[in-house]
Symmetry: C2
């Protein structure tokens, strides 16, 4: 199964792709899409849309795992994350991918075993699980890889529950 | 000048196009794009994206005027409006349109003269300004026409300020 994790954002949008081959999880891509804060928000969203579309065409993932929005105290940031999330979800669905969403707590819990884990703990676990020589950088890319790992961890269970019905 | 107003939303996304010809303002299109609440949010956003893209291709407006997001007490609604807004802004910019945003108060003020006007008052003024036989329905379409009218009202002043610099 080939899963692309996306941590949506307008200034930095993290992505990380993880494939399971012969029972092993392997990172095949990780990085960040950026847009210039000086540009108009509509132009930035169009650039993000273009970047996500290129990424989906290049990688052709089966599943796209996106961070689920939650209430944030910073309304301005929450709004731009919401707008970026809308663009990502629309593009992933339009590309024919299965789209799933996980909350930050679900990701922390799946990757470290604890929903209260810190960011650095998540990054070290992502590094360990994927057998990477260094911690994935920037943090947005690590968060995206963690989203992809979360789906790899949870999908088999969800499939078993589905088939038992 | 041909302006398409869009009041973003995932369940109902209002649109209304207003052209100025020989000094007269005329409505050339108004309606609502809907998506089924039972569908997955990513699928709904992809449908909205497809609908907005078709509308922009069909109407080919010079300017797209979108309602600017503001903080709402209902976080769940605010998030889906934010996601819909992201899709609309990205598509309008990608289509090469000038994209502008107005707050609800700016729209009320431009159309009725008062930032504290009620929804029905705005609808009656939209009807009167555009010389329509009836109040535009549903309300989302009327709101979108009001957004387009706001840009028609404000753009000449903004242009004069720009040229005086």
């Amino acid at each position: 199964m080939f899963v692309l994790g996306i941590d949506p954002g307008l200034t930095r949008c993290g992505y990380g792709a993880v494939v399971r081959q012969d029972g092993n999880l392997r990172a095949v891509a990780a990085g960040v899409l950026r847009t210039e804060t000086a540009l108009d928000v509509a132009v930035r969203l169009a650039e993000l849309q273009d970047g996500i579309r290129s990424l989906l065409r290049e990688l052709a993932p089966e599943v796209v795992a996106v961070e689920r929005l939650f209430f944030q105290s910073n309304v301005r940031t929450a709004m731009s994350v919401g707008q970026a999330s809308g663009v990502v979800l629309a593009e992933a669905s339009a590309a024919g991918c299965t789209v799933v969403q996980y909350t930050p707590n679900e990701v922390k819990s799946a990757v470290t075993g604890s929903g209260g884990a810190g960011k650095e703990q998540v990054q070290r676990m992502v590094q360990a699980i994927l057998g990477l020589a260094t911690t994935p950088r920037p943090p947005d890319a690590a968060d995206a890889l963690a989203l992809a790992l979360t789906h790899h961890a949870r999908a088999p269970l969800a499939a078993r529950i589905g088939s038992a019905r």
